[in-house]
Symmetry: C3
Subunit: 356 residues, 3 copies
């Protein structure tokens, strides 16, 4: 089978508060098919090791933190934070191969990022831009969800917003205008930037009651989508202006960031970490909480759709599918991903480069 | 693997009341390995489409009824009741292949029947005879059950009533006389007719308390079994008479129809729809309700047996089995089914015709 | 795939009280991949048959006891306790092959033992030594647990007690001394005997509050481990003496037997039957109950570890593992088991014999 995961990439392993200094805070994850255990050293530094003892494959996530190290609580082998074994009870010599794979791990914007490929290539500059819940001037609310689907269907989902009209009719979508948009896409070395406006539309389902009857909005979506599946959007709403191109000339009433990342656990499930919230300047009581809660609702709508889709795509993986105009975004984003996977697997970069 | 389902056949998709005019009444089924979505048009007409959008295999059963059409609520593609796509949001042209498979569907005797094969061959005359719960002069009570077994084991179960003695000792069987019966079978082009009497036996378990102590009954079973697995029985009980052949000369005290159909979902499960009830002329307070409720009990007994059997038959599919006399009915019914499956797959009809 | 179960061996099917004289006491087990049904005859004698009717693979465990026989409650075939069919309802002749496999079965020390191989080789002398809960002078408490792991990982677990230190820190282990032990092993024709002392250690977690502060104990483990996975230990604790070799010269304060047997159901799960308790002479109020209850706690600790390990070993069955000193016991015990499996499969006994 062809490789389906990009190795040389930062994958989000959760919000930073999920792995804390508590004695028992040792967290098991599955990332791109690999079991990872996460814990913090006494100085707060994050450690990511393979969650599999080299002795008999016991779960290190059932282990015990001892200083900077992690002890396997099956036979007591103790591993340093770099994965090197420093103690095997009952013997003096330690075989050189008695070590655990250690993963480069970085915290940024309150997300934990793990590099699943060659550690020598783990460049922190490749971590996706995002706005953390701790960012000054912003009130982002965080959440997470497990979805039993393949992460490629999540990429298709996020790279095309026309589905807001249908899947999210009652929450973050609803206006048929979303279904008519033909955004401009800009392919980047590791993703896709998209910006588009919908103008003079009704407020979306979940927030429509907050606006006076008849309010029309100009809405701007400005999205940075990067591999493996990070999706960062500045979402702004203005009272409807008269401009038909470029910035709205209405009044900015909602200025928000939503930061989302989908981490494939394996081929059949993902962990989804996300946030949404307002700028201080457009906040009003309850607004950021509403946005955060709305995402939980909306992503439950996606979960139902994507899990039913995944069942069907697994049943008939070779069924010939038809394409539509809205596949442009998903197609480009998957093209970038597959190109990087191919290159990593030893194939040559394609001639088109990254701006096809 | 050899085909295990007959395609050119009507399969029951449920009782008519299961798919109604309500805005959200869109029903998902799996029939003979194929996902089917059912809904009613505003005029009440039933529609059956494949439950799989041709775009990205989303579940159409998560869709929305719009007039006679069904809209996929992932990207908004809208399909007519004949499966032809009539709208793709965001574009004017519609690829010719953007259509969903539509299945011939007919309602008869309060059952919904879907034709899973070549639509050109969908002859409503092939729908099995039955007596619906709405039939005048009869009081049939309906029910249904999901069973995790292969439908061939259901055919074996229904084509031999000797199991009443054992599996249904406390409900619809119990008398050892059932275990001794050697019925006459008449093979038909698409099934098996069976008629037999047991004479001067005790009332069966579930109804025995309704008769005075010592009551003996003559019971007639008259069964039409057709492919894929429809099973229609007129069941009559008389006070025991003196006749040893043909009609009983006792008094008819229970005159009933039970109509049953087993729809294979896939190789490992079936949906079972069934009814039982008395004629007006032999009804007395509570009798038809008792019969309906007794079937629920009895088929739970079958479910336990057939699910345990299915586990074992899957574990050892090639184990050499031994045959007994009571396999005559099952053997003939499976012979008819397999002959039709072979012919459909392109094989020649066998020389013996249908009266082997 | 290579055979993973030894056939010519006695496997424990449970405590004798689990299969009783009650009309409905018919017990289904899966032993070394084979479905077995157990019941008692009116004289109390135990019967073990394959839980699979030769007719259509119905579950005989859904059957009915009739005298010494078991009737399949699907079509009424009745089998003697030796598996021979004695009745097929509706016919006079009984095909010779209409019989069920019968297994030699013996009760000993309140355990039920089933021989899964050639009946001619079923030598009761091969049943492992144990001390039953009914043994005079002892107060053994019994229990059982189902664990979703491969029985080889249970063998590894039991053949090395260094894991007491880590897995059972709070229950039956805890002292780092256990992690330093290098026991002497004596390979036997069907297993491994191990005896070792830990001296002047703290009382283990679960019983430490029963001893005055500062108490030190000399503890002796004397273990007979036999195939497939029986594990019988005399466990004694003395107040710490001055002897550094051989018997402690402290006072015997705890004298116990724990008898444990792990029966593989299939490759992915085991049934674990075990007991622990004191001699009358070292019993004090509640002590044997405490020991029995402590095993339930400790084996729940093992279950968590072994199930997580099994998931990982199935994910990467071919991963190269590293070995440590404490693998000596597990290695020898698996060597004995694999040697017997190979010999049974027709291979020659190895030259080393049984004392490698």
């Amino acid at each position: 089978m062809a490789e389906i995961f990009l190795k040389n990439a930062w994958y989000c392993a959760g919000w930073d508060h999920m792995v804390h200094q508590g004695r028992k805070s040792i967290v098991a994850r599955k990332i791109a098919g690999v079991r990872v255990v996460l814990y913090r050293k006494p100085d707060g530094g994050m450690v990511a090791l393979e969650d599999r003892c080299p002795h008999r494959q016991a779960a290190l996530s059932l282990g015990r933190k001892e200083g900077d190290s992690l002890r396997c609580m099956y036979h007591g082998m103790k591993f340093r934070s770099d994965g090197v074994c420093e103690e095997i009870p009952g013997q003096d010599t330690i075989p050189e191969k008695a070590c655990v794979r250690a993963f480069p791990v970085v915290e940024k914007d309150n997300w934990i990022w793990v590099w699943m490929g060659d550690p020598a290539k783990a460049d922190p500059n490749l971590i996706c831009f995002s706005v953390g819940p701790g960012e000054k001037g912003w009130n982002l609310k965080t959440s997470q969800m497990h979805v039993e689907t393949n992460y490629r269907w999540e990429i298709e989902n996020l790279a095309d917003l026309s589905h807001l009209t249908w899947v999210h009719e009652k929450t973050v979508g609803g206006d048929p205008a979303y279904g008519q948009i033909r955004p401009k896409y800009q392919i980047t070395p590791r993703g896709l930037n998209t910006i588009f406006w919908v103008r003079s539309v009704d407020p979306t389902g979940a927030v429509s009651h907050l606006f006076p009857p008849g309010t029309k909005l100009d809405i701007c979506f400005d999205i940075q989508h990067t591999v493996p599946c990070n999706w960062i959007m500045r979402f702004r709403a203005f009272t409807a202006g008269t401009a038909t191109e470029g910035e709205s000339n209405g009044k900015l009433v909602v200025d928000t960031w939503t930061c989302q990342t989908v981490t494939p656990c394996d081929e059949d499930s993902v962990d989804y970490y996300y946030s949404w919230g307002c700028s201080d300047s457009t906040e009003f009581p309850g607004m950021s909480n509403l946005l955060g809660g709305t995402l939980d609702e909306a992503f439950t709508e996606d979960k139902i759709m994507l899990e039913a889709q995944h069942v069907r795509r697994k049943e008939e993986p070779n069924r010939k599918l038809i394409n539509i105009g809205h596949d442009a975004g998903p197609g480009k984003m998957l093209w970038v991903l597959d190109k990087l996977i191919r290159e990593e697997a030893g194939g040559m970069p394609t001639q088109q480069g990254v701006t096809a």
